[in-house]
Symmetry: D3
């Protein structure tokens, strides 16, 4: 199993697809649940590309649906691993929709998922380090640690007082 | 439109269903994305029952997938509104799977979604207050305020220093 | 395998879900076939909860679609075992739709399915007795015997003259 | 609207398709619910061909699942209108599976659905008479009257004593 | 394995089904991709009926979508093997839609798929010869050879100069 | 409506997704029909990006399925407009699968679809010219004319003798 550090770019996954009639809510916008499912598949591919392992969803971070996505839209989900821990990987997703007539792309959503790499029997295995390159990748890499602490605090697995990087933002 | 306060129990929504072969990942467990989609539908029904309005997903709070859900499982998603704000509602979900032979139910997941009530043109409308009754409902009602602050902080719409209830847990 | 008698309530299964655009016919109501499929899944879970075995659909009794179910409806399918025979179980289903604005629930359908409990190789196995508790459960328990006779008569496996309970209703 | 009597053959509808992995139960056979849905679509086409109207499912008669249908099977659903009443039509379905290696076809199921012809606003409209031609079509045509009486009796809309043709089989 | 020559009629496969809302594009016609998928399933059944083997899609010949197929249409896909080669079979498909009110059938498409018969490990196996009977079957049988040459030429596996039957049509 | 010439790159569409269990044939490879449907969606997005119009599938050119795509694969469909005619666009697709462990990408398929740009009532409208840039884009641009002639010849809309560019390859 290859374990040299890998860049965020190497895990980049692009999933462009239509919003079909079967995926819309009563006011003809993409169901939140369908977008969550697409993001889960794209993020799992990014995590698999980073780890070259079977990966399973461990958690979904806070996801805000700021902008509704109407029927017939072209939606692009872009996923990149933002940080790797021992056997888990945080994946950052950006969702874009584009206007057919102007051709312009608009940011519709961001989301953060966490995946764990496992072997054939479902046990966690080690993953390579993630090396951020761009300014945005570095910012997300740094934020990932605070988010991991927040997860542990919310799950009662870490005392708030021990979450130094997280605590710092409230001071 | 009825606007008297309503209890959490009045919005309770139960969605029991099977895990079908088309919904599983390579190690034969329910896809995270499919569970997210089911929870979105169940939560939207709870929010609709509370508000009697069209509702759209506003955000998904942190969701941890602690326990894998194998093919053929019977999965029960239970959703109740945990707190209502002006036009938004926090919905708390509990996910259970049951063992076929013992008949025992095991908690598989918790999740928190937020919905906004809208009119036919998609504009936010007011919703009734939520009245918690049981101890658990009250605990979730209180936590909802901290979670709302956390959302606003993470979205850059509130300064961490102003999020009093949230800040308190780090002191 | 546990074989003590079990109550109808212990098998009660609730499946609340939306009517999605992909499930409607040309006049925008839920397809009969889609409702039949949902009822089959809910009934199979009730039968499985009663028997704690793998169960397969044996028959569908007469189902009347009295009321159309429009796109966007919230539909609740409620299934309970109504009587257990040697290895088969009759499951009674009630289907409700609710009005979003009034919050009122209306009965849309009733249906009766029969399931057989089988082992891993598909052979029938014994199931526990069903103990009806409420007046309605008792009425359905009694009717189940007549319906079983009707099935056997229609399948040519019982002479009409031998179907005493069934025959009685025509006298 | 054409209203001359029409033969059963003129409504004959053949739907041959595969059993896909997403349509099977835990012992790898076609879900009862999925077969019910396919039969509903095939029967609705037969009723539409007879009436040349929009049709909606009114009821499903007793359906027995005598033979399991394994994953990968080729399934043929054949539907023909068996009798027309004022605005309703009984449709008789025969389901066949074929063995890949021998090429032989085996009868897997029979089912009977009833459809009502409606106009664009959902109100019942008259349908042409059905003229049976073969011996089997005539037998099913005759049986349709008894089945209609049975439906009415079970629905409490006809007194058992008035259902002459039905009552006769118990004498 | 039976290897006597078989007629085109013996492989005839009819798949009649509705166009459902989930299968339509923004102007409410059946998606090209969905029709391609239905034709693939129907053609695979015809090839399986001819060969009595597992079959896999080898290629899709030129398919023209001359006529749009609106939501709610009844679509009939009819597939017959047009010629068998060593282990491959060309399947010719005719697609019809029918007008609900007039009952008239209109040709909507033609398509040609090629399948290969394989054993359980995916290796090609021999298939029986195809014997055309009608004038149309004979015409398609003859055309199949030119189409096979065209495939080989386009794939760079045959020199255009060696494709005698194909070349002839340009002289 | 913008009508300046556009490059192939500007229409480039990438759709990366998993092969799910519901999309596989009896030997656990992606169904040909499902791949055809994915390619249709990706190609329609590329044609829409080029034309900024509603687009409908006009034809599918010869598609060879050279390599089977197993369950669980990560499949990337990449679509670019290869040439624009008056209101039609040829779209060239490349399909890649990647090995999870080595991370290597392998070419699985090529395909060519043609789309027509239409207005809201379904009538063809003009599209911008396509400007090829790379050597491969130029080669495909040139081939597109021969393929268009071949389509017209096969449809009986052009005499083989008039298809000069096509005819040349047989001399």
């Amino acid at each position: 199993m290859v374990m040299e550090p890998r860049t965020a770019f190497q895990s980049k996954t692009v999933m462009t697809d239509l919003v079909l009639p079967s995926e819309t809510n009563p006011i003809n916008n993409l169901f939140g649940g369908e977008l969550l499912a697409r993001m889960d598949r794209a993020a799992s591919i990014a995590a698999r590309r980073h780890s070259r392992r079977i990966v399973v969803t461990a958690s979904v971070n806070h996801v805000a649906f700021n902008r509704s996505i109407p029927l017939g839209s072209v939606v692009t989900v872009e996923a990149k691993v933002s940080r790797a821990f021992k056997s888990s990987m945080e994946v950052y997703l950006d969702v874009w929709i584009e206007d057919r007539e102007s051709g312009e792309s608009i940011k519709a959503n961001e989301a953060i998922y966490t995946f764990v790499a496992v072997n054939e029997t479902g046990h966690p295995v080690k993953v390579p380090e993630l090396v951020p390159e761009t300014a945005l990748e570095k910012e997300r890499f740094d934020g990932a640690l605070r988010r991991k602490q927040l997860s542990l605090v919310l799950a009662g697995k870490m005392k708030p007082a021990d979450a130094k990087e997280l605590k710092a933002i409230f001071e």
